[in-house]
């Protein structure tokens, strides 16, 4: 207690959003009568806001657009109402908890099914499952839910036990109850957003495939946030019954899910407070426009038009807009990024001496091996019976003309695509078919030919995703821990940034980096998982000649600790780096040797110049 009191300023800063929220909600009752509001409207707004907190975690932060949230809102509401009416208890807290848990359980089932697909399918499926709940409610379960009549006679909330119990029997009492629940819900959502779990969610929204590729179990993260959103919805649904003394079946309507989406967009997705503001706009406009002659009936159409306009030209919504405005007015301008684009030299910088000339050939144990690896697409055999062994500490280049099967082979190594036949072994274990996530957890990480970074996250947060995968394993729902309080993680991020020369740029959003820096971040993401084997897919693609020379130097430094396989078009890069080179042609391995021997190999020369007959497979 004293320790906390000793740092009031720090505490105030830490809880600033909650304090501001409590402040506004505390003075609201005094203002309400002057702006045509009532406790009843305020209570509804808070209930929608609570409902929206979960939805915002799901949509605003993770990018999953669900049109079925009404299912959980209704389920939580009816379970809570039924518990009170049956009555199994007269305690509202118990009923609300029961409703929340029920909604979460439904969330597990529907989430499991809906999350099998992404994007549009996910939206369609949640919508369909939401409707299924509505139909379940109105007929097969009518015995318990009252069908189209709903459940009437939900008692006024009775909280606590024994002598500590309170009965709430007026709208102002309900208001304070809702304020307490909303503020706690808001605090919890904000903790999630600021936790390692939340960091992974945001990265999933930006680029889910890459989150999986650095070793996170993306489906599990998605399911978890889906269940959290369902739980929020269930709690808000339970409160709806208490507010109205009646649980209406329209909680299950498609319109309910739709209204939630619209309110969240209007208020601002990804802000947590947005859905509350959106609900205020919706309910307030509804009340206000109703009373204006001539347009009373048009209020919803006007909202619809506003919604379409917001989606089309101003996706941030009111709160998002306010944040942008605030930053523009008060924040210091970000330091102008150091000019990076080195002028493009038409002639190449002198290539570095060959690495192979300076080192003995690698003799360590075999860490990665393929046996008779084959991939067929229909009638086309992209990779044909390739066996290959990689020794610890080696840098191996895979080269070959277009269509030789390099990238197919490479993607099979990283388990991005499964082979048609043959096996891949990592340190003696068969890893064929494990999938990219598990393979990355084992210690094989890949950087991509086309940048797969998280553009709106800072360099620090980009690298954090990869470091977290190594530190926390494929799934760990660390929701209450602050994301930047783990010293080992921070150290990991800084080390990774330093190794790809981005230490100065840690707080720059990735989208603002120069192209060469993005390319380095791409390599950094793979490196930050601390792999034993690093797979680099054309690391210098799109770079200027000067940047290529720098990158070769960088890769040499990195290579002191890891084993590397590199696919690259630029022969100067290949010959400057590789200890050994594997040459693929028409899906076959036609040579594998030191750079000097490869350069002298007549088959390889022919493959590159196209006198086909010499090495065409029989």
């Amino acid at each position: 207690m004293t320790a906390l009191a000793a740092r009031p300023a720090a505490l105030a800063r830490r809880f600033a959003p909650e304090i501001a929220l409590i402040g506004v909600l505390a003075v609201l009752p005094a203002i309400l009568p002057h702006i045509g509001g009532t406790y009843d409207i305020a209570n509804r707004i808070l209930d929608w806001g609570l409902f929206g907190l979960g939805f915002d975690l799901l949509f605003g932060f993770t990018g999953l657009l669900s049109f079925g949230q009404a299912a959980f809102y209704g389920a939580g509401g009816f379970v809570a109402a039924y518990v009170l009416i049956a009555p199994f208890t007269n305690n509202a807290v118990v009923a609300l908890i029961a409703g929340t848990i029920a909604a979460a359980i439904f969330g597990v089932v529907i989430g499991y099914l809906s999350l099998r697909r992404t994007g549009i399918y996910f939206a369609m499926l949640t919508l369909a499952f939401g409707e299924m709940f509505f139909f379940l409610d109105i007929s097969p379960l009518a015995q318990w839910t009252g069908g189209e009549n709903g459940v009437a006679g939900v008692p006024e909330p009775h909280l606590g036990f024994g002598i500590f119990s309170i009965d709430i029997n007026d709208p102002s009492g309900l208001y304070w109850l809702l304020v307490v629940i909303f503020v706690v819900g808001f605090w919890f959502a904000r903790r999630i957003v600021a936790s390692p779990f939340g960091a992974v969610l945001r990265a999933i929204r930006e680029n889910g495939a890459r989150v999986a590729a650095v070793g996170h179990d993306v489906p599990k993260y998605k399911l978890t946030v889906f269940v959290i959103a369902a739980a929020y919805a269930g709690l808000a649904g339970g409160l709806l019954g208490l507010l109205q003394g009646y649980m209406p079946p329209d909680a299950f309507y498609l319109d309910t899910s739709g209204q939630l989406v619209v309110q969240t967009i209007i208020g601002g997705a990804g802000t947590l407070i947005g859905p509350l503001v959106g609900a205020a706009v919706w309910l307030y406009l509804y009340t206000l426009l109703q009373n204006i002659a001539g347009i009373g009936a048009l209020w919803k159409m006007i909202l619809g038009i506003i919604f379409v306009l917001l989606v089309t030209i101003f996706r941030r919504g009111l709160c998002g807009g306010a944040v942008v405005l605030w930053r523009r007015l008060f924040a210091r301008p970000a330091p102008v990024s150091a000019s990076v684009a080195a002028s493009v030299e038409p002639t190449r910088a002198a290539p570095e001496p060959r690495r192979s000339a300076q080192r003995p050939p690698p003799t360590g144990p075999v860490v990665l091996a393929t046996r008779n690896l084959t991939k067929r697409y229909g009638g086309l055999t992209a990779v044909d019976d390739v066996s290959f062994e990689l020794r610890e500490g080696e840098i191996r280049a895979v080269i070959g003309p277009n269509g030789a099967g390099k990238s197919t082979f490479f993607n099979m190594l990283a388990n991005v695509i499964p082979p048609t036949s043959g096996t891949i072994e990592f340190k003696g274990d068969n890893i064929t078919g494990l999938g990219a996530t598990l393979v990355c957890q084992r210690g094989i990480s890949k950087s991509f030919q086309i940048n797969q970074i998280f553009p709106s996250l800072t360099v620090r947060d980009n690298l954090r995703i990869a470091v977290l995968a190594r530190a926390y394993g494929k799934f760990r729902p660390a929701m209450l821990r602050a994301v930047d309080r783990d010293g080992t993680i921070n150290a990991g991020i800084e080390a990774a940034a330093a190794s790809v020369q981005l230490a100065e740029r840690l707080d720059t959003p990735a989208a603002e980096l120069a192209y060469g820096e993005k390319r380095r971040l791409e390599i950094g993401l793979a490196l930050a998982t601390r792999p034993q084997i690093l797979l680099l897919d054309e690391p210098t693609a799109g770079m200027s000649p000067a940047e290529r020379v720098d990158t070769v130097r960088l890769l040499r430094r990195i290579a002191s600790g890891v084993t590397i396989v590199i696919v690259e078009h630029d022969m100067d890069v290949v010959f400057g780096l590789a200890d050994r080179i594997t040459v693929l042609f028409n899906g076959h391995k036609i040579a594998e040797d030191t750079p000097d021997a490869i350069q002298a190999n007549p088959d390889v020369r022919a493959a590159y110049l196209g006198s086909q007959a010499a090495h065409e497979p029989a």
């Binding site: 038409p346 693609a541 799109g542 200027s544 630029d570 028409n586 590159y608 110049l609 196209g610």
Partner: protein, 232 residues
């Protein structure tokens, strides 16, 4: 006036700079080979000519009229036709439908029969779906799709890629016939020998820069240069 003038174009993939001040000229009735290693920018050059990618700077003129930045369908109607890498046959359509499709926007397209006269193999398979064809047949169809439009300039991107030697010989014969008919062709090919045997002139690209312009004979006379820019 050259048929096609490419004047110092710069093309980007997103932020990745792919072509650096590339300039070239294609005269009527000549076959020009565009050579270079993987990733040198050959396909990007063809795509920029066709309007699939827009150059960020520089000019492209076809018959003297600027076409840089126009959408592909407008460029196609002016008489330029790309036969793209990997052929891109519409797999769900039959051979004949692919041919008809290609002629739809052309006022006087070849009737399918004329294609079958030239490629009897396609005539035999006119009712087969594109995805059922072999690689060589698909390549014939891809070339036929360009021919029905009677283009003034044909851009061939890797026509021999992934095909067996015998089929390559067949296709080479077809290309030679087209050249003998006086058609203007730009060919991009990894198979340097095949491309040089067709061309009167060639350009070599390296890392997005034009590093050589000359005749196949001159190029063959400088094996060191060839190896530096084309081999390994």
């Amino acid at each position: 006036m050259s048929l096609l003038e490419v004047d110092a174009i710069n093309t980007f993939y997103g932020e990745a700079h792919a072509l650096f001040d590339v300039s070239m000229r294609i005269e009527p009735h000549e076959v020009v080979a565009l050579l270079g290693r993987n990733g040198a920018g050959k396909t990007t050059t063809l795509k920029t000519m066709m309007g699939v990618m827009a150059p960020k700077s520089g000019a492209i003129r076809f018959n003297g009229a600027p076409i840089g930045g126009l959408p592909p369908y407008k460029i196609a109607r002016l008489g330029l036709q790309l036969v793209p890498e990997e052929r891109r046959i519409i797999g769900g359509l039959t051979v004949e439908e692919n041919i008809v499709l290609a002629g739809l926007s052309e006022p006087k397209p070849w009737p399918p029969q004329r294609v079958y006269d030239m490629f009897p193999r396609l005539g035999e398979r006119r009712r087969s779906r594109g995805r059922e064809l072999s690689g060589g047949e698909q390549q014939m169809l891809a070339i036929a799709r360009a021919l029905v439009r009677e283009p003034q300039l044909i851009l061939l991107d890797e026509p021999f890629e992934g095909l067996a030697p015998l089929i390559v010989q067949d296709l080479l014969g077809i290309c030679r016939r087209l050249a003998d008919e006086g058609r203007t062709i730009v060919i991009v090919e990894q198979n340097v020998e095949a491309a040089l045997s067709l061309a009167q002139r060639c350009y070599i690209l390296n890392n997005g820069h034009v590093v050589y312009e000359g005749t196949p004979g001159d190029l063959r006379g400088d094996p060191d240069f060839m190896h530096r820019h084309l081999g390994i």
